[in-house]
Amino acid sequence: MAIGKKKKGEAESAVPYTKGLLALQMMMTLAALLFAAPILIIINYSFKSKKELYLNSPLALPESISFDNYVKAFDKLNMKATFVNTLFYTATSVLILAMLCGTTAWAIARCKKKFFKFAFVYFIVGILIPYQALFLPIYTIGYKMKLTNTRYGIIFMYVATGISFGVFLMNSFMNTVPLELEEAARIDGCSVFRTYFSIVLPLLKPAMATLVIMQSFQIWNDYLLASLYVSKKQLKTLTVAIQSLFSAQSSDYTTAMAAIVVSVLPIAVLFISLQKYFIKGMTVGAVKG
């Protein structure tokens, strides 16, 4: 976090706006337009009626602004429940992950015993395991522990699949925590736990922010685990509900488009409002990592 301070800010205004920069600006604008186009097209689609979709050009603007598709999407997706579910699963898992990954990574970084070295490797391997391909055993374990079709079950799985990346990320931040502070605390007679919560945790805030954001949108968008663990109507998540709108026969596209907009919106707002932390967190991660 300290790194950013002396940076760019003032330097920027000092650089004159040259012709080269203008050309670059135009190129970037073009690229940005290309990137934004699919999103604008989805939004455009989401206001069209089913008939317009077939009879008019996909590029044409809707004949009238109608929120029918949104109303339908809310209804078909059982939006109230699915939205709350998704939010609840995401928030809870991310909180638990932030807590666990922080303590785990810190303990691994500080304790030099063999077990901790092994534990680090053990967690890192997890990043490489394609849990998509472990479909049945993940389920088998889940039902034996009575985790399937429960809220805590899906949260448990999000924590299990997210923890390896989380530990890896937090570990790379650990050298931003000065050892001297910890040692001072220890000399004062603090236990390991107190040292963590009173000294380390506050210093890890930017790292936590990064972790929270990165995991949030992965969990928010998860399809496979959610479809595996919570398929009961009252427990479903947004992505699973949307997927059922574009299943094989007779897709209801306009409603699906509205549903996409609704599902992306909250996470986009979260990112845009928190992007300062995200980038700060990444700065530390990418540079010190």
């Binding site: 890192i124 088998t140 398929s231 299943s247 094989a248």
Partner: protein
């Protein structure tokens, strides 16, 4: 500055050495894996519930609250019927609550069933008629009481019956064949084709007049698989109902069977006479083009009706079976919503009460048929929605010219066989694979051709 580089390097080296270490630890881990792996469910599915089935459904009438779990494999046209069923059930048996789990039949029904075969099936499962052949031999399905079966049409019963026991209650049906634009046929003086020559004449006339003979959407592999089964029904299974069994016995093969080759080759006929971008066309777009008069015919099923009518409620269409070599092809119907019940349910009475509502509540049935635009499989119930192709269906039915595709789907299963064959057909149509290779690939898949 330097510190930063050094520390990042150190961290990186650590990662790399860790990763190096983990490669080994993984190998080492493989030995104890067998010991560590838990023994999977050994719950044997004994049919101990046999007595429960014969109990009178009245026993629980006034009864306590019961919650039944239901796994419903649906297509999008079906989504929503669960609310209708809930409503009807609440009227007659308010003590029963259904806990629905609705999934997409094509993608998720089989995975879900595989999960539940490990952990115990839901009380009620709603799938397609062909599912009975897949799951009944596992000994996990209960026989359906004849009280309810007798309220349904006899036609669908045969293919959900194994060794004299019926494990599925067929609720509705889809018709499959060639949908055609009636007005266009009338304008051009085309008759419904009975033979391949008749069909070819129409195709030639279409091409001469700049009309696409066929609408098709091959981006969906399932649609290639679906039409191929239609072709096989009339050219193969009509003459040789046990073709699949013979295939597994090694008596016949795709490469040597003229009938099978013919069935595959019809795909080429369609491909050569449809939109050039069929491999980028999806069902809804395809149906829209058909409605707008860009194409004359479409090999499809009742699932297209909802689309047709959504785009133009006055679209006038009919249906005929895709002609075969012998000129005696039949209109295909597919029993769709098929209710199966678990052999191990603790609430057999409540399950029967649900079956009772489904088979006796005619209002509910009509509501569902109208909503899904499908045909009734219950006695004395017919949908009331305007279906321009109904006259054609009635005619074929009256003449006894309809055939249940479940026969073909039981002989050669969908998942892992028809579905995979369709991919080879797609590759062949695109010139990625020779016709002979596509046939050989189907022959090579013989082990996967039956569910058991």
């Amino acid at each position: 500055m330097k510190k930063k580089i050094v520390s990042s390097l150190l961290a990186a080296v650590m990662v790399s050495s860790m990763l190096a270490g983990c490669g080994q630890s993984n190998d080492a881990g493989s030995a104890p894996a067998d010991a560590a792996g838990e023994a999977p469910a050994q719950e044997q599915s004994n049919e101990t519930e046999a007595e429960a089935e014969t109990e009178a459904p009245a026993a629980e009438e006034a009864g306590e609250e019961v919650t039944l779990t239901v796994l419903a494999g649906q297509s999008t046209t079906d989504a929503g019927i669960e609310d209708m069923i809930d409503e009807a059930l609440a009227e007659k048996y308010p003590n029963i609550t259904l806990e629905w789990e609705c999934v997409d039949w094509g993608n998720d029904f089989q995975p879900k069933m595989q999960q539940y075969l490990q952990s115990g099936l839901p009380d009620i499962m709603i799938g397609k008629a062909q599912d009975v052949a897949t799951y009944a031999p596992q000994g996990v399905l209960a026989e359906i009481d004849s009280t309810y079966l007798d309220r349904g049409l006899d036609a669908a019963r045969e293919n959900v019956t194994i060794d004299g026991k019926t494990y599925g209650m067929v609720y509705n049906a889809l018709y499959q064949g060639v949908y055609y634009n009636k007005d266009m046929f009338a304008e051009n003086g085309w008759e419904v084709p009975k033979t391949m020559d008749d069909l070819q004449a129409i195709i030639d006339d279409c091409n001469a007049k700049g009309i696409k003979p066929f609408a098709s959407h091959m981006v969906d592999t399932w649609s290639i698989g679906n039409v191929t089964m239609q072709f096989m029904m009339n050219d193969v299974f009509n003459n040789t109902p046990d073709w699949g069994d013979q295939f597994r016995e090694g008596k016949v093969s795709f490469a040597d069977s003229e009938e099978m080759k013919t069935a595959y080759e019809y795909n080429k006929l369609i491909f050569d006479n449809t939109y050039p971008d069929t491999f980028s066309t999806e069902q809804t777009d395809c149906d829209a083009k058909m409605v707008m008069g860009e194409a004359a015919m479409k090999v499809s099923g009742s699932w297209s009706i909802q689309n047709f009518l959504d785009i133009d409620e006055s679209f006038n269409f009919g249906i005929f079976p895709f002609p075969n070599q012998t000129g005696d092809s039949k209109l295909i119907f597919e029993p769709n919503i098929t209710i199966m019940t678990s052999a191990q349910t603790e609430h057999q009475d409540a399950v029967n009460q649900v079956l009772d509502v489904l088979t006796s509540d005619k209002e509910l049935a009509v509501e569902i048929y109208d909503y899904t635009k499908t045909a009734s499989m219950l006695k004395d119930v017919s949908p009331t929605f305007e279906n321009p192709s109904q006259a054609d269906i009635d005619q074929y039915a009256a003449d006894g010219n309809i055939v249940d595709v479940t026969l073909g789907n039981n002989q050669l299963v969908w998942g892992g066989f028809q579905e995979e064959n369709a991919k080879d057909i797609a590759a062949w149509l695109q010139g990625q694979e020779s016709f002979e290779d596509a046939l050989a690939a189907s022959d090579g898949r013989v082990d996967a051709s039956s569910a058991n």
